[in-house]
């Protein structure tokens, strides 16, 4: 493994809904990742990916998204909870790649207007991510009553989330390093 190659951990914003509060969450996570030396990140807004809807899967792979997933050592998915589930567009985007995800770490940040902080969408995402070859970590971040956590301009109003994100990221970084070593150095047999 090249020790000098930084980790790359993009943050996927998993909703295209107008007025989405999850944007503030995703931007916060990007800022927190950016504080760490040796880790690169970027925000991937699924609303900005022009994927067709008259086909699905790897046939509609978006080149820039594919390159970002190939380069990634881990992913953060920020997902609001819609009717206990994730957005259809997020699934559509995730399904467009496969080899790019294999044996890479993923952490989920759940967002909800209610008190449960996206716990149900996180549980529903886990089997999907597993089938895509991603390795889920056991730390999540739950943004409950998200409208009270951020001001209208995106300013964080509850500093406790910084520590929660820090714990989440430390586990994600560790898993990303381990899995990179495994992908690049440890053969299947």
């Amino acid at each position: 493994m090249e020790a000098t190659r930084p980790l790359f951990i993009p943050v996927i914003l998993g909703t295209a809904r107008m007025g989405r509060m999850s944007l503030h969450v995703a931007q916060l996570v990007v800022r927190e990742i950016s504080k760490h030396a040796g880790v690169k990140t970027e925000l991937i807004d699924i609303a900005q990916l022009p994927l067709p809807t008259n086909d699905a899967g790897e046939a509609i792979k978006h080149p820039a998204f594919s390159v970002a997933m190939d380069r990634a050592d881990a992913l953060v998915i920020v997902s609001p909870e819609y009717n206990h589930g994730y957005s259809g567009l997020l699934k559509h985007v995730l399904d467009s790649c496969l080899k790019e995800y294999i044996h890479k770490a993923v952490g989920i940040v759940g967002v909800s207007a209610g008190p449960f902080g996206g716990t149900r969408v996180i549980e529903n995402l886990l089997p999907v991510l597993r089938e895509l070859g991603l390795v889920t970590i056991f730390w999540d971040v739950n943004f409950a009553s998200v409208q009270k956590v951020f001001a209208a301009d995106g300013t964080l109003l509850d500093e406790r989330y910084i520590r929660r994100i820090d714990k989440f990221l430390k586990e994600l970084f560790w898993m990303a390093k381990m899995l990179r070593h495994g992908r690049e150095q440890i053969p299947l047999e």
């Binding site: 899967g57 790897e58 046939a59 380069r71 070859g133 053969p187 299947l188």
Partner: protein, 70 residues
């Protein structure tokens, strides 16, 4: 289970890649066609498993991922 013996070569670095994963991929129409087009190998449905075994490889130098049918 069928296994391809020769090492994949990284398209970016030209070094031997590490084969770290096999995955059972079920045919889903155009996705299967895409896989076939990418690998230039006819997908062989494993009669016991009901899908195509894909090998996943990663470059130890640059981290590029690649796959092919087993």
């Amino acid at each position: 289970m069928a296994k391809t013996a020769d090492k994949m070569i990284c398209p970016r670095c030209g070094v031997e890649m590490n084969h770290h994963c096999d995955k059972l991929v079920y045919g889903t129409g155009s996705q299967e066609a895409e896989l076939q087009e990418n690998t230039q190998i006819d997908p062989v449905i494993d009669p016991l498993l009901g899908g195509v075994i894909s090998e996943f490889h990663t470059c130890p130098k640059c981290g590029t991922a690649a796959c092919r049918n087993a």
